[in-house]
């Protein structure tokens, strides 16, 4: 199975990244792209203007083929393009691929490329670039290329504007692998035959996108200017973009407020600030544009530690938590309360499961039922928690968890770590509980099953089944559902697996997180796809 | 009294008040003095007598507002210094009067060239142009007897010796040829030979310029050397004020008489010490070298503090080591007592060479060789009671605490203190009393040899005498041998049997006290003797007998 990626922070130090890999989506057949109307109602686009975008933290580099952290994406998606884009329902839309077909056996994907596209340095873009990217560049540099392209047999270019991908096994989710961060097309004429990591052009990205790299003042800003030779006539509409590095959350909010910047994304803005900013007449808050990620945050529990090996204890913990309070006061209303392992916007979601209400008395009952006894301080158990070191929200969340569990007699001690220490302890199972959030990539086969199946209990590897939860029935259901073509049968399987997981609570799902994109109202057409801010901005324009 | 001429300065009923809460309300009380042109007035007194306050009050340098003139007038050429405007005061300073301070090492601005410092006064108060000022500076430097005025003008003070700095100070004070020169103990911090030169210089310039001089000192020898008239101060009051000849030879006030009686002076010595038996201590070619200024990645300069020093001390003998600062006399003492490790030579104590002994091997000898230090304020640990201080040695060598404390009380009585003070802390005692405690501590281990390193030089003269007498007494009673280190030949003359004169790390003359004084063979010894101030003055006979008796007392046979 895929073990693509996991928890990410976007705000804080270390950052997030990747999208995804392909997955089987039975029934999802090739469809020609139909442009979904952009979110902001478009008047006549105005040409010109300067766009200021918050960038945080500073990306290590801008070569999207070499680095896919979210800040890198925010900038580099204006420079690089892929074959496809996706609408809010994850339907593919054309990008550098004008049209595409998938063979009936699901083994051949044929893409017809746009014509007359040139790289920023004037070289023509051809199918060779696509083949080079898929067969040479990404397999060497992209951390998830080996899993994304596992079924890929070869890639051929019948002519300059056609590319064919041949799979050795049907894998319907493959159509989702052409999102720009998973498959940024790199210029073959620059990279072919060089050490990709050491290429002298690495400080000057060359793509096909609507904006060209102009200048990067480290610690300060990245400056892009409009590409006059962009293949979409009349675009982009704005003249230049400044990505401003503002490492302090309060300063970022202030910058939006004072109109020094126009757009913030991901968790640039602490949730505390969102309601206030939302009230300002010149700002709007949009939560679309993160559909692929569909992040779900939970409390991760090490099942190797007593008494947390007992489902009743995990249930007790769940009953002790007021998830509405978490949503309203920690995430400031940004998010939905999950019912189970699958995000409600993700395919195959079912709400036919047990619902855990906030019920501290029930929590105490459960623990008494287990035969736990209170110690001198009135505690049933002591637990150490590693707060996810990705920004203040998660620290607040940990503090809340400590208080809430403390009220039902579970004494929680927090233990601070930096991101490296956190990653190591979690990967090596040297933790008791922690919080985490993981992207789902649209489909349970891509971003859900990896967390719960026995096969994926791998010490030392992050974003696997680090809890040590193992239920063979769950494994079976996930495996079969992934290759099941019949929609109803598949739905039944996923429903069953959700019910089992909700009963056994391998982790405690807290919130389906929503990232706020906060935009100055003078900016139009900013969110036009599931990529959200990590899209080309070719259609974006600035009103007076 | 002073001449009938119009006085340069006249003090009328000068009182200087101290901040409330002190031990007395006035530092100076109702002092009346006059200084005429060409007159040198010496103000004499012990520490705390208020003599310096008088000078500071005249110069307007009192640390106001805590200490200030409370009453009286100071008329400089008829003009009251205390009521004139600030501007006028500034003009008067420098032009009307100049001042020299006690401590030449700190009286010059360390960051200014010598020339600039002299020039500053000229720039402020004279019409001379740059060239004229420079010429005047050179002239002044030559006048005060400094070599190479041209080089010296550009030097910074730190390159000058103490004597040279004091000369520079005099040059500054003389720059504008003031009518009055105030010298506040200008020679106290100097070696005796330098002191003589400075005294000569002051006398010379005073005669040349016809100035009035107020010279503040604690030393009657100096008074005898230069004074025209003398004012004796005690506790802020002027107890005797008369012409020098009268005060020196026919003192009236009891206090003056006591002071004069206490002046150390060469007296016809007791019989010569007869050396018997084997030497208690024999120093042979002792050498000690210090590394100076060394540091990281840098070797320091070598300073030879003692070079080829040899002397012997017999039981019951007092050997005086006399020399000026830097002569190596203290180094020698510290090598013997084991505070420094000698770099060469032998120090044989009762047959054992102490040089090169390990700490542990040296320890038994600690009992036998004890030391009395110079500074009574630094030599007693302020945190301990007197009994603990005295008994620390015996306790370290295994005497039970109780017994050691009993012995401490005995020793206190021996050194002339009441046994009951054993429970007090050092800060409750005066300098002389502390020095007694210090002696008691040294005696507690029943030493055979006592090293006394300038034991009286930090004390006022009257106290000095008492401590010297005590040391002498104890030596007789206990039959101690003593190495007495001092810079003052007069002091040495009173207690020593044998005298070694040291100069720059070497002994230049070694002989009986009588020989050294009456028959000095080395030129340096002669220079030292010559430099003793007030030699031509004989202490009045009626005062002299107060001290003579004890000195001539027959020697007890040592045990």
């Amino acid at each position: 199975m895929m073990k693509s990626v996991g928890a990410q922070s976007h705000g804080n130090p270390a950052s997030g990244r990747s999208w995804w890999a392909g997955a089987t989506c039975a029934g999802l057949l090739a469809v020609g792209g139909v442009l979904v109307p952009a979110l902001a109602a478009a008047d006549e686009p105005r040409q010109g203007g300067t766009l200021n975008v918050i960038l945080d933290p500073e990306p290590p580099m801008l070569i999207l083929g070499l680095n896919q952290q979210s800040p890198t994406q925010v900038v580099a998606t204006k420079i690089y393009e892929s074959l496809l884009r996706y609408d809010f329902d994850l339907e593919p839309m054309p990008s550098l691929a004008r049209e595409w077909e998938i063979s009936d056996d699901g083994l051949t994907y044929t893409f017809h490329l746009q014509e007359g596209v040139t790289w920023h340095d004037g070289e023509p873009f051809t199918s060779h670039d696509v083949v080079f990217t898929a067969t040479e560049f990404l397999p060497e540099t992209h951390p998830r290329a080996s899993s994304n392209f596992r079924q890929l047999e070869d890639v051929t270019a019948p002519d300059d504007h056609t590319v064919e991908f041949h799979l050795d096994e049907a894998y319907p989710a493959f159509i989702l692998a052409f999102e720009v961060a998973s498959f940024p097309i790199m210029p073959a004429h620059i990279y072919e035959g060089t050490d990709y990591n050491d290429n002298e052009m690495n400080d000057h990205p060359i793509g096909t996108g609507p904006f060209k790299y102009e200048r990067w003042s480290r610690g300060d800003y990245v400056h892009l200017v409009a590409n006059e030779d962009y293949w979409q006539e009349g675009k982009p509409h704005v003249d230049e973009i400044y990505f401003r590095l503002i490492p302090d959350a309060a300063s970022r909010a202030l910058a939006l407020e004072t109109e020094q910047v126009d757009i913030s994304s991901y968790n640039n803005i602490e949730p505390f600030d969102v309601p206030r900013l939302e009230q300002l007449p010149h700002l709007e808050v949009v939560t679309e544009g993160y559909e692929i990620a569909a992040p779900l945050t939970w409390i991760e529990i090490n099942h190797r530690v007593e008494p947390m090996d007992d489902p009743r204890f995990r249930q007790a913990m769940m009953y002790a938590l007021d998830r509405e309070f978490i949503r309203d006061n920690i995430f400031m209303g940004l998010g939905r309360i999950p019912t189970g392992p699958i995000n409600s916007v993700t395919i195959e979601y079912s709400d036919d499961v047990h619902i855990y209400e906030h019920d501290p008395d029930r929590a105490v009952e459960l623990m008494e039922e287990m035969g736990l006894e209170r110690d001198g301080n009135g505690n049933f158990a002591q637990i150490e928690m590693l707060p996810l070191p990705y920004g203040e929200t998660f620290i607040r969340l940990s503090e809340y968890i400590r208080e809430s569990l403390g009220q039902v007699g579970i004494d929680v001690r927090l233990r601070s770590t930096d991101s490296a220490g956190w990653a190591q302890r979690v990967a090596d199972w040297e933790y008791e509980i922690t919080n985490n959030f993981v992207y789902q990539y649209g489909h349970p086969a891509l971003g859900v099953s990896r967390t719960y199946i026995c096969d994926n209990i791998r010490q030392g590897v992050l974003f696997t089944n680090t809890m040590g939860y193992c239920n063979e029935r769950v494994d079976e259901l996930f495996a079969e559902a992934a290759v099941e073509n019949d929609e109803e049968r598949r739905a039944a399987m996923y429903e069953e697996v959700q019910q089992i997981l909700v009963d056994e609570l391998p982790v405690l799902w807290l919130l389906e997180m929503e990232f706020p994109t906060i935009v100055n109202t003078r900016v139009r057409n900013h969110t036009t796809s599931a990529g959200g801010v990590a899209d080309t901005f070719a259609d974006l324009w600035i009103d007076e | 009294m002073s001449t009938a001429k119009q006085p340069v300065l006249e003090l009328r009923n000068l009182s200087v008040s101290l901040p409330p809460g002190g031990d007395r309300p006035f530092a100076v009380e109702q002092v009346n003095l006059r200084v005429a042109a060409k007159e040198i007035l010496c103000i004499v007194g012990e520490s705390g007598s208020g003599k310096s306050m008088v000078a500071h009050a005249i110069m307007g340098l009192l640390p106001e507002p805590h200490v200030k003139v409370a009453a009286g007038e100071a008329l400089l050429n008829g003009e009251n210094l205390f009521t004139m405007s600030r501007t006028r005061q500034r003009q008067v300073r420098g032009v009307g009067m100049g001042m020299i301070f006690q401590e030449p090492m700190t009286a010059l601005n360390p960051l200014m060239r010598v020339g600039e410092q002299i020039e500053e006064a000229l720039r402020l108060h004279s019409d001379l142009d740059g060239r004229g000022r420079r010429a005047r500076v050179l002239e002044l430097l030559a006048d005060v007897g400094l070599p190479n005025p041209e080089d010296l003008r550009r030097s910074y003070p730190f390159r000058l010796s103490g004597g040279q700095r004091q000369r520079v100070m005099i040059a500054i004070a003389l720059a504008l040829e003031p009518d009055l020169l105030i010298a506040d103990e200008p020679t106290t911090a100097l070696d005796v030979t330098t002191q003589k030169q400075i005294l000569d210089l002051i006398r010379k310039v005073q005669a040349e310029k016809g100035m009035g001089v107020i010279f503040i000192t604690h030393d009657f020898g100096v008074v005898a050397e230069i004074a025209d008239s003398v004012a004796v101060m005690q506790h802020g009051r002027c107890v005797e004020y008369a012409r020098a000849e009268q005060v020196l030879n026919r003192p009236e006030h009891t206090y003056t008489r006591e002071l004069i009686a206490a002046v150390p002076h060469y007296i016809e010595h007791r019989e010569d010490f007869v050396r018997e038996g084997t030497a208690l201590l024999k120093a042979d070619s002792v050498r000690k070298v210090f590394q100076v200024g060394g540091g990281f990645l840098r070797r320091g300069r070598e300073l030879i503090a003692a070079d080829n020093v040899s002397l012997t001390i017999h039981p019951g003998e007092t050997v005086g080591v006399v020399g000026e600062s830097g002569s190596g006399k203290s180094t020698l003492g510290r090598c013997i007592v084991g505070l420094h490790k000698a770099d060469g030579g032998r120090i044989v104590f009762q047959g054992t060479d102490l040089v090169g002994l390990s700490r542990k091997a040296f320890r038994p000898f600690r009992k036998d060789v004890q030391m009395v230090f110079q500074d009574p304020y630094a030599s007693l640990n302020p945190r301990y009671r007197v009994a603990d201080i005295i008994s620390q040695g015996p306790i370290a060598f295994g005497t039970p605490r109780k017994k050691a404390h009993e012995r401490a009380r005995e020793l206190l009585e021996l050194v002339g203190l009441d046994a009951s003070v054993a429970r007090r802390f050092p800060h409750e005692f005066s300098g002389g009393q502390r020095q007694r405690i210090s002696i008691a501590r040294a005696l507690a281990l029943d030493p055979k040899l006592l090293i006394a390193d300038e034991p009286v030089s930090a004390l006022d003269v009257s106290v000095q005498t008492q401590v010297l007498d005590l040391l002498d007494d104890i030596r007789y009673q206990l039959g101690l041998a003593m190495l007495f280190i001092t810079h003052d030949l007069r002091v040495a003359a009173q207690v020593c049997d044998t005298i070694a004169v040291m100069q720059t790390g070497r002994i230049v003359e070694l002989g009986t006290c009588r020989d050294v004084f009456s028959n000095p063979t080395h030129s340096y010894t002669r220079t030292l003797l010559d430099a003793i101030p007030g030699q031509q003055w004989e202490i009045p006979a009626d005062l002299r007998h107060l001290r003579g008796e004890r000195a001539r007392r027959p020697r007890e046979v040592s045990r």
Partner: protein
């Protein structure tokens, strides 16, 4: 002696004010559980309540925790860490300084080079790294603060020992056969303590500032409510809730101020000679 000490101390009005404030802070720390029996982390009211709201005197924070409770309980951490880390720094500094000053020579050279090394590394950077590496906890905070705080104390102790070593009462101790440890501990140490105590009291103030700065950066002990943590947590909501950072900041300010004032008073009382230069002529 004690009376003199107290009189000298009391003659400095600032020191008295400082002492009074410090007593209040200490009482606050001692009786924190009486004043606010519930944990300072407990969410007692609605988030973002401004000061003087019904049940929260100084307002509430983003989770509805009582700022006043945090300030009161925070005094414990500040004082505890300030005190313990200063004691540790004092121990390291005085030990090294004493050895360097007493023995001189290569021992002195080596120790002083070592001290210089620690003074060259920017101390806050070092503290941040130490706490981050050894994971934030009360122990790592104390250790880190102590490690960056000892060099000035070592230099001071060395200076004192160096000058006292050649003082005559110490020489007298040598000549009367006292052992070296005894000379160091009984003769020199007690006499070098006055300036060291003063410096140490100022070290406590600096340590509290350091602790708050580290907590502010999120490097505090996550289980202990501290002032620096409160300000750090309030930084992002500075605009909505000024009170969240204002009151803890004032708490740090007056506590540190009080300790400095007391330090000056101690200085006046313990080192009368030095005191004079600080104040009137």
């Amino acid at each position: 002696m004690n009376r003199d000490f107290w009189n000298a101390f009391a003659s400095n009005r600032g020191a008295l004010v400082g002492l009074a404030i410090l007593v209040v802070v200490v009482l606050m720390a001692i009786f924190a559980d009486v004043l606010y029996p519930r944990s300072p982390w407990s969410m007692v009211t609605a988030p973002f309540q401004p000061p003087l709201s019904d049940d929260v005197l100084l307002g509430s924070d983003t989770l509805g925790r009582d700022i006043a409770a945090g300030v009161v309980h925070g005094s414990r951490v500040s004082l505890l860490i300030g005190l313990i880390s200063s004691l540790v720094a004092l121990f390291i500094g005085v030990t090294l300084g004493a050895l360097a000053g007493y023995f001189g020579g290569w021992v002195d050279d080596a120790i002083m080079r070592f001290t210089e090394l620690f003074q060259t590394i920017p101390n806050f950077v070092l503290a941040v790294v130490l706490v981050a590496i050894f994971t934030p906890s009360i122990y790592s905070l104390v250790a880190a603060i102590a490690i960056v705080s000892w060099p000035p104390l070592a230099r001071l102790a060395r200076g004192e020992f160096l000058s006292l070593r050649s003082r005559e009462f110490v020489l007298a101790a040598v000549t009367t056969g006292q052992s070296t440890p005894r000379i160091i501990l009984r003769e020199i140490l007690p006499n070098s303590l006055s300036p060291i105590i003063v410096a140490a009291s100022l070290t406590v103030a600096t340590a509290i500032l350091l602790e708050s700065a580290l907590s502010f950066l999120g490097l505090g002990d996550p289980n202990m409510m501290s002032w620096g943590y409160q300000i750090g947590a309030a930084r992002t909501v500075l605009r909505q809730a000024w009170w969240m950072s204002f009151f803890p900041g004032i708490a740090i300010l007056i506590t540190v101020l009080a300790i400095n004032l007391v330090g000056e008073g101690l200085n006046d009382a313990l080192n009368p000679k030095l005191a004079r230069k600080g104040r009137g002529r």
